[in-house]
Amino acid sequence: MARMNMVQAINLALHQEMERDPSVIVMGEDVGKDEGVFRVTAGLLDRFGEGRVLDTPLAESGIIGTAIGMAIAGVRPVTEMQFSGFSYLGIPQLEGNGSRYRSRTQGQRTVPMVIRMPYGGGVRALEHHSESREATYAHMPGVKVVIPSGPRNARALMAAAIRDPDPVVFMEPKRSYRAFKEEVPETSEVLPIGQAAVVQEGTDLTLIAWGAMLRTARQAVRSVAEARGSSIELIDLQTMSPLDVDTIAASVKKTGRCVVVQEAPRNLGMASEIIAQINDRVLLWLEAPVARVTGFDVVTPYFARELGYLPTPERVEAGILETLDF
């Protein structure tokens, strides 16, 4: 075990997966010599050489498109989009081809590739560098979307993403890159994609969060426990698509109450789908409507106003109390 932050943890996964499987390569803008603008790909060029760590031209569609071709060839490319705000240029390739080759050829050609991107706000960044657009990617059939919340699961989920037979959009909450450290085992650890984690058990209410919002959620849980003695079950969603409906349903069936915390804008976010699934499966166990504590349906503000936009522990707490008291 070693204590490390999320950047180091993802880096560890990359090193270990590239060591384990020679078909894994890394490509993106500034990932080699510069080791990535957040240093997530540190040490890879030195260790594995420019045959496997490619500093690509500045062309997102080109990166995703060629990676698709590589994946079809049998390579496992781990691509980087420097910021999620630039990844949209790669969407035509991902939506039009990456997500489709498997079904287009009925499984004959598959696209095992990873698209890494830092996402989310709270780091006082420039325009386009703070959005949370996981729902856009999760809405594409054939694409998997994974969001870690801390160093340990970031490492384990990255290993899973690299080994996965399908295109995985791996969204890294940049606010959490260096914010805290966790114990991460030396030996390789893999978490299954498509599975949420119950990080804390409880009986009174189910709180669902992902990415940077996990820490916000934890604070709210502590606060409510202190104030009211409530027992909150906290779920780290981890995979946006395919959604772990079984874990969510089992938890809500147990507690009868649920709050979802979402950094992304309110309209049509992951929370909407979660609530729809709860409606489908365990409606008759609900004691109260499922609440959402979300961002707003406005353009993400420049950083002077950013903290008011993001869900805070206070807002989450209010949502929890309202739901408990319904």
Binding site: L283, L286, A288, A291, R292, T294, R315, G319, L321, E322
Partner: protein, 449 residues
């Protein structure tokens, strides 16, 4: 705009019937002038106007029932402009409206003409469904008139209203981004009438049981399943329906002779045992078509008597597991033979436990025949929510007077217990008399039914 809510008309009365309005829409009225006459259970009352001004709205036509706390009249008060916001005189009405449950206060009634769903959490609805409880019949204790799970369970257990289990919520601070559902934002409605709690029935005192083991050995058997269900049904029936028992006897000498003469033939031909009860069922089914108020149910919420134009006869059957009441459907269309057959089939299924749940539901009238086991008379309990039940005791040979002479005849004692909310002695007597005539004269049973 002043909205006048119907005040408490005294002694815990919560509603009244509009007799007549003293004003029409558009009329001017002075404070203290007569506004409306309202009749309660006790008397007719004239309500004077609390304000001077112009009447802009009236709720409730003569004959309609209005409830305490409902807006019955709107008055544009003199001196106020048109644009004034409606003034709800909460202080005044709070003083007038009793918040304590009074004796005889009716159970929860919904707003007039309201057909909207009853507010209840999904979990509560599931429990209600499982317990077979109609949400509309359950007195709500939750805020904003919400029916809680506790309310449902209490109702299913026998009618006592639950105490409000959740405090009213703190003012909503919630997530500013939230635009929550309308239900949450609903302001507190006028206080709903509560059902009487047990403690409010005079002289009723339920004390904890003494420790019987102090006197001698005891055995405790769990009170479960059918036994417990029967207990619930009996308490419910006895509390809700005022029982009257009308007793009479039928001379079934000729009927019995007929029955016994035909018994073997049908036993051989159809394997059906013709019993006396089948003949009684036939006669009862016909009788219920002529006296439908004995083949009905009372809807306390909508205050309507539901007359059923079909006759599904239940008959009490004693089984190892307890008392069950299998139901013969469309008895009014069935012959004596068919009734005998169905009785035998259902009784057998009840005894061996294979009877379907659907065969235990849907009854409109019940017959209970204790005769084979003995007894000179019985006063049966109505199978709520039915409104009448016929009990048959043991047929025995008795000396009776006919044309001045004493003869020995076979006599069948019967008791019709009925719900006096719904029927009166006269109807019961007429029903029974006709029934008896048809049993005493089998030819009329054939010809008239």
């Amino acid at each position: 705009m002043f909205e006048f809510l119907l005040p408490d008309l005294g002694e815990g009365i919560h509603e009244g019937e509009i007799l007549r309005w003293h004003v029409a829409i558009g009329d001017s009225i002075e404070e203290d002038e007569p506004l409306v006459d309202v009749e309660t259970d006790k008397a007719a009352v004239t309500i004077p106007s609390p304000k001077s001004g112009r009447v802009t709205a009236l709720t409730g036509k003569p004959g309609e029932v209005v409830h305490t706390g409902e807006v019955i009249c709107s008055i544009e008060v003199s001196g106020e402009s048109h644009e004034a916001a409606p003034e709800t005189v909460e202080v005044e009405t709070a003083a007038l409206v009793s918040t304590e449950a009074g004796v005889g206060a009716p159970p929860f009634s919904p707003q007039r003409g309201e057909r909207s769903p009853i507010p209840a959490a999904p979990a509560t609805r599931r429990i209600a469904r499982e317990l077979g409880v109609e949400l509309a019949a359950v007195p709500p204790s939750g805020h904003a008139r919400r029916v809680t799970t506790e309310d449902v369970r209490a109702f299913a257990a026998g009618g006592a209203a639950a105490q409000p289990s959740r405090p009213a919520p703190a003012p909503r601070q919630g997530d500013p981004a939230a635009a929550g559902p309308a239900v949450r934002a609903e302001p507190a409605a006028p206080p709903a009438s509560a059902t009487p709690t047990i403690s409010s029935i005079p002289f009723l005192e339920i004390n904890p049981l003494p420790d019987y083991s102090e006197e001698g050995p005891v055995e405790r058997i769990p009170f479960r399943s059918i036994r417990r269900k029967v207990a619930r049904k009996m308490v419910t029936s006895m509390i809700l329906a005022p029982h009257v028992a009308h007793m009479d006897e039928a001379d079934v000498t000729e009927l019995e002779a007929l029955r016994l003469s035909q018994r073997d033939r049908y036993q051989d031909r159809d394997g059906v045992r013709l019993n006396l009860m089948s003949f009684v069922m036939r006669a009862v089914a016909r009788g219920l078509q002529d006296w439908p108020e004995l083949n009905a149910s009372l809807d306390p919420v909508r205050e309507e008597l539901i007359l059923k134009r079909y006759v599904n006869l239940g008959f009490a059957a004693d089984t190892e597991r307890g008392l069950v009441v299998p139901v013969i459907r469309d008895a009014h269309h069935k012959s004596v033979l068919a009734l005998a057959k169905d009785t035998a089939t259902l009784a057998a299924e009840a005894r061996d436990g294979s009877i379907q749940a659907s065969s235990l539901r849907g009854g409109t009238f019940t017959i209970t025949n204790i005769g084979p086991l003995g007894g000179t008379a019985l006063v049966p309990t109505i199978n709520y929510p039915e409104v009448a039940i016929l009990g048959m005791a043991r047929v025995s040979e008795k000396p009776v007077v006919r044309d001045g002479a004493i003869v020995i005849r076979k006599i069948l004692p019967m008791t019709l217990a009925f719900d006096h909310r719904v029927a009166d002695g006269a109807q019961a007597a007429r029903f029974m008399t006709t029934l008896i005539r048809r049993l005493e004269d089998p030819a009329s049973l054939l010809i008239e039914t």
